[in-house]
Amino acid sequence: MRFHFTDEQTQFRDTLRRFLQTVSPTTAVRRAMVTESGYDAAVWKRMAHELGLNGLVIPEQYGGAGFGLVELCIAMEEMGRSLLCAPFLGSSVLATYMIRLAATDDQKQRMLPALAAGESIAALAFAERNGGFDASSISTLAARVGDRYVLTGEKFYVLDGMSADALLVVARIGVSDGLSLFLVRPDAKGLTRRALEVIDPTRKLAGITFDRVDAELIGDADTAAPALERTLDLGNIALANEMVGGAARLLEDTLAYTKMRVQFGRAIASFQAVKHRCAEMLLSVELAKSAAYFAAEAVDEGRADVDYLSSLAKACASETYLQTAIDAIQLHGGIGFTFDQDTHLWFKRAKSSEVLFGDATWHRRRMMQRLPAKEVA
């Protein structure tokens, strides 16, 4: 493990930060978040064309940039900082990894280049009403009809499901123990989707019902479970990096505010209670960063304990992001609770991130189930 970013990676981060400062100031976030799709299509195209972000982890032979998770996580961290509203996590991370891990070469050839080019948005529909983010919670049914399949059931909490033109649906064929992955078009007959009312308007979720909807099997039948788990491991690591980006930004904004805000004739940053709280916030953010960075590097280095590290990073980021957001509002005082001040935008992202793909309690339990024989360090 390197424990630091290369100069190229740092340069990539700087470029990205400048780009996001331009396209995703909070005025833009507020514009995007009140739309149903939740993102600015022009920015989405620019991300693909100018920076190749959409295909960051798509192999070059499928039109992508072929980077690793570390680079993806740098992007996620910066997007978390700027609270970018875009179907990146749903399409460019989850759906992309799922296709990479589960699809046949032919299917990849059909899907990935369009994703890389920013011409297509895919969503991975796996969770259902019960809200479980693991394989055992899935009961949507697939039945074979000739060469193709029909799906019946309901998917819920589908990240970026409203903006996707390709739905990757995880379902069970009959009473199979294994899971299978299907490609469904959102305009297919028997499919109904609607935007869910969400606590975090910068992160759009859809509910989708399937009533004998035509579907194409992706990859082999009954083999999607390990790919789904791996995809969620990578997704959680990406999400953890997004979260620490948001937390770091909250701390910076809060620091700036406390240094500027005067009460009792002094900057509130001069009160020891404020200083000490900020010191603890910094500690918490840096620890969460370390966990998020380590997990990403572990994937690129091919370590075997990615499942453990993914849950560790996500559990750590969950607690840190939420607590940082709580502290940020508190240190902003009354103004921090108003809609026009920006802090609540990150607070809501912290809340949605806290439980997305499993809350801290769930991931801590999973950590202990996946505890490596020799502890990591």
Partner: protein, 417 residues
Amino acid sequence: MNEDAIRTEVRAWLEANWDSSLSLVEWRSRLVDSGWGMPEWPRAWYGRDFSSAQARVVQQELAKVGAVGVARTGIRLLAAATLLEHGSDAHKTKFLRPILTGADTWCQLFSEPGSGSDLAGATTRADFKDERWIVNGQKLWTTSAHHADWGLLLARTDWDAPKHEGLSFFVIDMHQPGVTVQPLKQMNGHASFNQVFFSDAVVDPEHLVGKLGNGWAVAMTTLAHERRGADGMRSGAADVGTAASRTGRVHDEERKEIETVMAPYTWYPQRAGRVDLAVPRAKETGRIDDPTVQQELAKLLILSSSAEWTARRARATQQLGKPQGPEGSLGKLAASHVARAAARVHTLIACAEALLSGVDGAEHGVIAEILLSVPAVSIAGGTDEIQRNIIAERVLQMPKEPRFDTGPFRDIPRNTQ
């Protein structure tokens, strides 16, 4: 006057006067003029110089027949108490009766964007020109300003005096072109407060309350009554419940009055964390079988029960007339802990459902509203930081914070906006 004599007299008066078919203001006019509406007030001003024990007896008699009391919603009684203590006879004559009958609505104009915890740092200015006070500046966190007739205004009249000595206290007419009221939207979507902008707003010279430069002392009276009222508000809520079933014009109008005042605050129970929902939700969702949920639920119940019992200890001490122990100053800080713990537990119970709100959200969005409202509990009405300062300094007798705001106000660092 002993208890029995009071009861007899009140009963006789009620028999002759109580009539639920009157309009609310009509009935309250009778009540106020009789001296039974605010018996603990002085005889000269709608009262009977009663002790609070005597006043409680009157209250009980009114309650027995279901008679409506004086108007207490909003900040009316804070305004009345302030004027009673610091106002001139002219103020009292003009303002007290319509306060008690509910004819006039009031708002409090103390907080500003630049002075929240530090109220005395107000920079809204009142300048005396052409025999009138001209007010310019901005106030924040004003409840009910959008339908208030009068405002209690704290404004700076002397910029060379020390901070606390350059403030004056006014009654301002809210119905004038120089006063603009805008709702202030909060992160949970509600707009319970207003911003009030003053642009050459006018105050008549006779509407100065107390002496020039003595505004801080007057405002402290208002705030002391506000703090004392926090308990009363809670018990008031229970009254509303019992009154809900009563019929008659006066009751209908009272219900409407309460509804109007309370409308912006439907989220306040959520702000406190809705501990009452925790166990039922855990049972309903089956999450109560999860050992981690059990632990967190138990922590919440320990916290909320012990906070409630602490408040009861404080009340018992007070009712016995014994010297208040430390337990009386802890309620607000305890409430912050309880609310935060409750938000945690509600999230833990909800799991993925915590992503949703509104019609899709758990309990039809109530859980989401809790999660988005709890952050206010440790800020509104005095931040946790201010509460800890108060507890440390007043209860634990620890040294005060060093002062950086002495000398002429003009020279004290302040916010620039």
